[in-house]
């Protein structure tokens, strides 16, 4: 059976992804542990969100400390659609995502002109301003009381498979954004914007496109989150801690790589679960230490360690000095 794939897709990667999805989809049938089931669902959302963050932070090199703004917008739009207009869940997820994507363009289009740390600082401002304003707009977010969604008893369990789909789509998109011709253009922009435009790469259009996708995906993650917990409130959705968690996942897992942030997300969530039970007072310091160690010794995080292990050199990841000089 010959499936027509674009030239830049390696068949083995596609098979690998498909296999992983099938395996994960079958897990609940072999082992009914509800606790792990729910934990995995949350991990899938985390994976999707971290990958989406990485498109902006890793592929484009624009580290965002305010991505929670889109997460919240997506979540609250979806929640309101389900509450006020009784839209079906998936439709409201889609609309929530689009709203979040559009929102990211509004603040992102002008600020993406900024390079380096200036952009990151701007994102902090955006994240916090969004949180404050949206908490104030209680017609949108319910204020600090938040919004309670109507509860469906089996929903949380079913969301597991939706989560697999979401994460798989994010992985596929990550792969596509990197391996496709567009990915090469992104790499060019990341290393030298001016040189890139000299060879005809339209930085603005591509950046906007990536920004929109990133915002869209994070928005859908927010909508998923809202359906999962059946209750959301702005302090939690728009919180700075949430934005930070994706930065940590991306950097520790391997910023700019295809699957690094996914790995970072898995580790982050698993470690948190373990620490919460035994050493809740230490996880801030642990992440801080990991961050410091990664930046100093292995800028590509865990993926970098792995690559060193298999002695592979990846010159394309050495752009802008985020990897060890070859």
């Amino acid at each position: 059976m010959k499936v027509p794939l674009p030239a830049w897709v390696r068949p083995r990667a596609a098979i690998g992804l498909l296999a992983a999805c099938v395996v994960l989809a079958l897990v609940p049938l072999l082992n009914g542990a509800v606790y792990w089931h729910n934990l995995l669902t949350l991990t899938f959302v985390g994976v999707a969100a971290a990958l989406a963050w990485n498109w902006l932070g890793g592929y484009l090199g624009q580290v965002s400390f305010g991505h929670a703004a889109m997460f919240g917008v997506g979540g609250f739009v979806a929640a309101q659609l389900q509450l006020q207009l009784r839209f079906p869940m998936l439709v409201s997820w889609a609309i929530g995502g689009v709203a979040a994507g559009a929102f990211s363009l509004i603040w992102g289009h002008p600020t993406l002109r900024l390079r380096g740390p200036y952009f990151s600082i701007a994102t902090i401002g955006v994240g916090e301003a969004t949180r404050l304003v949206c908490t104030y707009w209680d017609w949108f977010t319910g204020g600090s009381s938040g919004l309670s969604l109507p509860m469906r008893s089996n929903l949380k369990y079913e969301l597991y498979w939706y989560g697999i789909a979401l994460a798989a789509l994010a992985v596929a998109a990550s792969y596509a954004l990197r391996r496709s011709p567009m990915g090469l253009s992104l790499l060019a922009i990341k290393s030298d914007v001016d040189a890139a435009s000299d060879v005809g790469v339209s930085a603005t259009r591509l950046q906007d496109w990536v920004l929109f996708l990133s915002g869209l995906t994070i928005g859908i993650c927010g909508a998923f989150y809202a359906s999962y917990f059946s209750y959301i409130e702005p302090g939690d959705m728009f919180g700075f801690d949430r934005s930070i968690s994706w930065v940590l996942m991306g950097v520790i897992g391997g910023i700019g790589t295809i699957l690094g942030p996914a790995l970072g997300a898995v580790i982050f969530i698993l470690v948190k679960e373990y620490l919460i039970a035994s050493y809740p007072q230490l996880y801030l310091g642990l992440y801080g230490t990991l961050l410091v160690l990664v930046i100093l010794f292995e800028p590509l995080g865990i993926t970098g360690l792995f690559l060193r292990l298999v002695r592979r050199r990846r010159p394309d990841l050495a752009v802008t000095g985020m990897a060890a000089e070859d």
Binding site: R115, G116, A129, V251, G288
Partner: protein, 291 residues
């Protein structure tokens, strides 16, 4: 009219605090081209140091200011030698330094949680609620003292940068590090000293803040963001620019209550930050480097 006078005085006093907070951040970026995200952590550390000295030794915060600043200075040099020095200089190091110092901030926060718990701490002195009349308004003595110290610090800095060898070396390195090496200025040492100086300034600001507000380990976050606004508005490293930018921010924040609901005045600073970054990333006074 009376209310107007009150608001003006409040703005001016607040501006002094903001200027002190911002200067350290601007200095480090101007010379090292590094955004010190640990700035918030050192502000917090300064506040806790002041509180601890007051609680354990009965030392008045204004008296422990010198001690705290000096200790912070060496902590800054140590941080530079141990960590920051290993980062590549220039554009490549930009985001990395951001993340590295952010990690340090997380560690400091956790340390504060472990040592002091997450509860709020208040520094109460005999003059905490003392007020004097200025015109028709009642002004807190504490705030005036904070403002006074802020002015002293800024004057001290200006003199340091313009009259001493070290100060001139710092300004030279900020302009062109490579030429400095050619001329025999120990660039690495200057980097370390500058980082130490910036850290000391942050801790001093934290100490001053501790006399005014209760604080906990998350203290410094909002202050960091306001420092960004001031630094970006005022351009880099210019003493006058920082002071004026601090005044602008304080005025906008305080007077905003006349036009928008009180709750949203907290968002004013952030919106201003984004607007200024988009419209004039070089700051209102252009990209001046220490003058």
């Amino acid at each position: 009219m009376e209310r107007f006078a009150e608001l003006v005085i409040a703005s001016v006093l607040l501006a002094g605090l903001y200027a002190t907070m911002a200067y350290g951040l601007g200095l480090i970026y101007g010379v090292l081209r590094i955004v010190n995200l640990n700035h918030g952590g050192m502000i917090m550390a300064g506040a806790y140091a002041a509180w601890w000295l007051h609680a354990a030794l009965g030392l008045d915060p204004y008296l422990s200011l010198a001690l705290v600043s000096v200790v912070a200075f060496f902590v800054g040099i140590f941080t530079y030698r141990l960590l920051v020095r290993r980062l590549p200089r220039g554009a490549a190091g930009g985001v990395q330094s951001l993340l590295l110092l952010f990690g340090v901030w997380l560690i400091l926060r956790n340390a504060a949680y472990l040592i002091f718990t997450g509860n709020d701490h208040t520094l109460r002195t005999s003059y905490s609620t003392l007020a004097v009349g200025i015109g028709s308004a009642l002004v807190s003595v504490n705030r005036i003292a904070v403002f006074g110290v802020a002015i002293l610090i800024l004057v001290f800095l200006h003199l340091l940068l313009t009259r001493t060898y070290m100060g001139k070396a710092i300004r030279a390195v900020a302009q062109n590090p490579d030429s400095c090496t050619l001329v025999g200025i120990p660039v690495e040492r200057i980097y370390g000293l500058t980082f130490g100086l910036g850290t000391a300034l942050a801790s001093a600001a934290g100490l001053l803040g501790s006399t005014l507000f209760p604080f906990n380990p998350t203290f410094g976050g909002a202050e960091l963001l306001k420092s960004f606004v001031v630094v970006v508005l005022g351009g880099l490293g210019s003493v006058a620019g920082t002071a004026i930018a601090a005044l602008i921010l304080a005025v906008v924040e305080v007077f905003a209550i006349l036009v928008i609901p009180a709750y949203l005045t907290a968002a004013v600073g952030f919106v201003l930050l984004v607007v200024v970054l988009v419209v004039r990333p070089g700051g209102l006074f252009g990209q001046r480097v220490l003058g």
